[in-house]
């Protein structure tokens, strides 16, 4: 069996349709991940030790369990509790929640990376806590973590095919569907694979640029 160029051209519209869902799920999930991650990090810095530990273990639990059973949980369990959501919404929420535990680690490391002297200068200037965070620590920490956060956008893009487990018609699922119709899997799946490589390589070049840009602080 050989590569069928004509067939490749024919299935392209189907694949692009799937790509749309992939992009939507990745971007919407990323917004959740970036915001919720910061929330986790700040929640872990409250004065209550017990509360901090609870947050720590919740995030550890979400981070160290696989995405697919998490997708099942959100997609099948929430309706059992009376909350009905579509598969794409469930996918976006799960992807965002899952990766928020990664971005939380990134923010935490970024905050730890802000030199101790910055905290001391804040004390010496008698700045109130809210200002210490909003004006001094977070602007510096977030600047440091932008490239790493960029890496997680790529990571989420590459994990998005797992959403097919709950029947989201994303890129790989579309490829599988056209392949199953004609029993010609080679072309659609190879095209999808190449697409992933191309997007990943281009975006990692962009991230490297970000790294250079934010390397000097």
């Amino acid at each position: 069996m050989n590569w069928d160029w004509h067939y490749s051209g024919e299935i392209l519209p189907d694949l692009l349709d799937g790509l749309r869902y992939t992009v939507i799920a990745t971007l919407a999930g990323y917004v959740i991940a970036v915001v919720l991650g910061l929330v986790w990090t700040l929640l872990r810095r409250t004065p209550s030790r017990i509360f901090n530990q609870v947050i720590r273990w919740i995030t550890e639990f979400i981070r160290s369990t696989p995405l697919i059973p998490q997708l099942y949980f959100v997609f099948f369990v929430l309706p059992a509790w009376g909350i009905t959501i579509g598969s794409l919404t469930a996918g976006i929420i799960t992807l965002g929640l899952h990766y928020s535990t990664y971005t939380a680690e990134v923010y935490r490391a970024g905050i730890a990376d802000v030199p101790k002297g910055q905290w001391e200068a804040c004390t010496a200037l008698n700045l109130p806590k809210s200002r210490v965070w909003l004006d001094v620590i977070l602007p510096q920490a977030i600047r440091r973590v932008i490239p790493t956060l960029g890496n997680y956008l790529i990571a989420m893009f590459k994990d998005s095919p797992m959403l097919l487990a709950i029947n989201v018609s994303e890129l790989l699922f579309s490829a599988y569907k056209v392949g199953a119709k004609t029993l010609q899997f080679l072309e659609p799946i190879t095209i999808v694979g190449l697409l992933f490589v191309v997007v990943s390589v281009i975006s990692s070049i962009l991230v490297r640029r970000l790294e250079r840009r934010y390397a000097t602080i």
Binding site: P69, Y152, A165, A175, F196, V199
Partner: protein, 238 residues
């Protein structure tokens, strides 16, 4: 809940599949990571190109796409794999590419003076790597390797989508047969969590051994670099 727990033989079988996939995939990934990682530090440009091609292709791809490719596409070219070996290949090749970047970055992070000392002592390139550079780089590699092993364990869940009966598939089956959705999916998440914590213990133990071997104390909190290096994204190290 009791129905779900009564099915423990199924859970155990599924857990065994998950653990076996993790170990086999991890072994393949380790070998590939060391080979291609060292290739990335070679003086010869063509060897470094080999490293780049491998890393960019397999790291740039989604594991699930790789698995589908091995499982659905390649057999049409006459390359047939058992489901298990297709899964091990997809996981090992993918995680091995991340690992190669970790290895390359760690070797490059060994101070240049160490390399110069090996040249001054007239070591062969193999001796430099084996006796001086790798042992020092090893301590740097371990924490990100630990992260990657847990990522790999989580990655094994994709095999449930091509018919292997791992933990995730067992949970889906039990949910189907008992109708106890909450219990089935809660149990599977807890089981994965336990496996991850056990792996974590092994990794910590290995880290302590290596630290003692090299007589150094690594910071207990991961720095931004190590978080980035272990990232499942395209973390660019070194």
């Amino acid at each position: 809940m009791s129905d779900v727990l009564d099915s423990y033989p199924q859970w155990l079988d599924g857990a065994w599949v998950t653990v076996r996939l993790t170990l086999l995939g991890g072994a393949l990934a380790l070998v590939l990571a060391l080979l291609f990682g060292m290739a990335g530090t070679s003086r010869h440009a063509w060897v470094r190109v080999l490293n780049r091609v491998y890393v960019e292709f397999f790291r740039g791809n989604a594991t699930l796409v790789l698995l589908y490719w091995f499982f659905y596409a390649l057999p049409l070219l006459g390359l047939r794999f058992t489901t298990l070996s297709a899964a091990v290949l997809a996981l090992g090749l993918n995680v091995g590419a991340y690992g190669a970047e970790v290895v390359r970055g760690s070797i490059n992070a060994v101070p240049k003076a160490q390399y110069e000392a090996t040249v001054a002592l007239n070591f062969t390139p193999f001796q430099r790597m084996r006796r001086v550079l790798l042992p020092q780089a090893f301590a740097l590699m371990l924490p990100p390797f630990g992260n990657l092993l847990i990522e790999l364990m989580k990655g094994t869940a994709i095999v449930s989508l091509v018919g292997l009966v791992d933990l995730t598939r067992v949970s889906k089956n039990i949910q189907g047969s008992t109708g106890q959705t909450v219990a089935a999916f809660s149990v599977v998440l807890v089981l994965y969590f336990i496996i991850a914590q056990v792996l974590q213990l092994f990794v910590r133990y290995a880290e302590r051994r290596v630290d003692r071997m090299l007589g150094r104390r690594l910071p207990s909190e991961p720095s931004l670099e190590t978080v980035a290096a272990g990232a499942p994204g395209t973390g660019v190290t070194g």
